[in-house]
């Protein structure tokens, strides 16, 4: 019965649910800056979920992981993205490739798929947060969908980062986090990736006078 779930697991479930909700909100969001803020908020929920898991289990590396999430996903990356958006002046709305309600419906289907895929696995998990594995997979898939449907380069990157959020949630929920050295490596990769992309945005804009990737359709097999 439901009453047997400890409070910490309930809290993590709640945060996971909010992360999923934010995933949908990002899917629906048209404005760049709001999109980045939503991403930061998602990172913050991930931070809280990891923190609760850390406090409950008393595992030190989860504290580090939470701190890493806070520093990178809540503060640093949104700050970089904010700066980029301002400098590149791409505040205006982006029209999605598919209209938003359709995207949402596809998103719902993806969530169902993710939940079904994860169900047999989460039943095997012994951690307090096993239910969240399905949510994590759903977040990954939603971010994937966002990357497919969006036209602007920055929203694709936000989608990519949101996918990383989902993966971290998966790592926290299924296994209480990956070994520290791996998490550090992943964080470093993400950071370097965003910096490289930041440089990249400027090159793309200089070449195409726009950050709209619809211009990038020249390379095709004719």
């Amino acid at each position: 019965m439901t009453s047997s779930i400890p409070l910490s697991a309930q809290l993590i479930n709640l945060f996971a649910a909010v992360i999923l909700l934010l995933g949908f909100a990002m899917l629906a969001q048209r404005r760049m800056l709001s999109l980045i803020n939503l991403f930061a908020l998602q990172g913050f929920c991930l931070f809280l979920a990891t923190l609760v898991a850390a406090v409950t289990t008393g595992q030190v590396h989860l504290f580090y992981s939470a701190g890493l999430t806070l520093a990178l996903k809540v503060l640093l990356l949104p700050w970089i993205l904010h700066r980029l958006v301002r400098q590149l002046k791409v505040k205006r709305e982006v029209e999605a490739l598919i209209n938003i309600p359709t995207t949402m419906l596809v998103g719902i289907v993806l969530v169902m798929v993710a939940f079904n895929v994860a169900l047999p696995i989460s039943e095997l998990s012994h951690t307090i947060t096993r239910g969240t594995l399905g949510i994590a997979l759903a977040v990954v898939m939603l971010a994937f969908l966002m990357m497919i449907t969006r036209q602007k380069a920055i929203s694709q990157v936000v989608g990519f980062l949101s996918m990383e959020n989902g993966l971290f949630l998966a790592a926290t929920s299924a296994t209480y986090g990956m070994p520290m050295v791996v998490e550090l490596g992943i964080a470093l990769d993400v950071l370097v990736g965003v910096i490289i992309l930041g440089v990249f945005f400027f090159q793309i804009r200089d070449q195409f006078d726009s950050l709209d990737i619809r211009h990038m359709e020249k390379l095709k097999d004719n």
Partner: protein, 318 residues
């Protein structure tokens, strides 16, 4: 089975609904005025309106059918019934077994059909325009509302509103993420169903955007009074439903008389806060274009489905 106190409580709840509903509308109007830095209309304005309208003669269009005349009574009756089913003060409601949550959706649907038919009955352009839009909104809002009820029904293992409220009000404290989803979805649906701002604006007669007002343009006198009153009752019913489902604390269990008495000020307090928040939402948001309304309600539906899924994944233990 049906106790005297239960009957009394039921009668009192209906009476309270009839009395409080216009007050709630007035309160929301007043809060909106404050938010928009306007001079607030008097709190009792809706009562004055009702009194004025009841005292006026009815003017009917030449081609109005009997349906046009019967509709206000049907709509009013539906809303009174809805208010009777929703546990506002106590969970000891003799009427409750008559209709569960799904039937409540049906009651609202019946009222909607009548108001849309009445709107089209006279044959004016605005009437049929409003009727069509109302049906569009309803067509999208109803599944979302049903999904919300399904989520709650899964938690309570019953579709009876009384059982749901009892389960939620007297359980130990468990965080249900699904309830958060359902709550947001319910708020969206309530805004749409009560012709509130992101979907419709009850305070204007702007012809291009209106929905609810377009349907009732042809009404006057006591018919209009009944419809206005029914609209207030609908808002009241939705507010009480939201409070009962998502903030059920303080609703009197069974036939406990003192708890019932204590529930009244608590209910009024919760309604006041709810009305204040509603006015806030209406002020902060701009009205959507009518073609964006499906998107808004689609979001509500999506949230409700998500709530259901989250319920299945996170909260059900095999």
């Amino acid at each position: 089975m049906i106790s005297i106190s239960g009957l009394l409580g039921q009668a009192f709840a209906i009476l309270l609904a009839l009395l409080l509903a216009p007050l709630l509308s007035g309160w929301v109007g007043q809060c909106r005025a404050w938010f928009q830095s306007r001079t607030a209309p008097p709190l009792l304005l809706p009562y004055f309106m009702l009194q004025k309208l009841f005292n006026k003669d009815v003017v009917l269009a030449h081609n109005a059918s009997s349906l046009f005349r019967a509709a206000p009574f049907v709509i009013f009756g539906c809303m009174v019934l809805a208010c009777a089913i929703v546990p506002t003060l106590s969970t000891d409601l003799p009427f409750a077994p008559a209709a569960d949550a799904l039937a409540l959706v049906g009651v609202f649907g019946l009222a909607r059909i009548f108001i849309a038919l009445a709107g089209m009955d006279v044959g004016t352009a605005f009437g049929s325009l409003g009727g069509r839009r109302e049906m569009l909104v309803g067509f999208l809002a109803e599944p979302a509302l049903l999904m919300v009820f399904f989520t709650l029904a899964m938690i309570a293992q019953s579709t009876s509103l009384v059982t749901i409220v009892e389960t939620l009000a007297y359980r130990e404290l468990v965080i249900y993420p699904s309830l958060a989803f359902a709550g947001i979805a319910f708020t969206f649906v309530s805004l749409a169903e009560n012709a509130r701002v992101p979907v419709d604006n009850p305070a204007t007669h702007l012809e291009l955007t209106m929905i609810h007002e377009a349907m009732i343009l042809e009404y006057s006198g006591r018919h209009l009074a009944l419809i206005e009153w029914a609209a207030s009752l609908k808002l009241y019913a939705y507010s009480c439903l939201g409070l009962a489902l998502f903030f059920p604390w303080g609703i009197a269990p069974g036939d406990n008389f003192f708890a019932l008495v204590a529930a009244i000020p608590l209910l009024m307090f919760k309604l006041a806060i709810g009305g204040f928040l509603l006015a806030g939402i209406e002020t902060v948001n701009a009205k959507l274009r009518i073609f964006r309304a499906p998107e808004f309600l689609g979001t509500a539906f999506m949230l409700a489905v998500l709530g259901l899924l989250v319920r299945l994944l996170l909260e059900v233990r095999v």
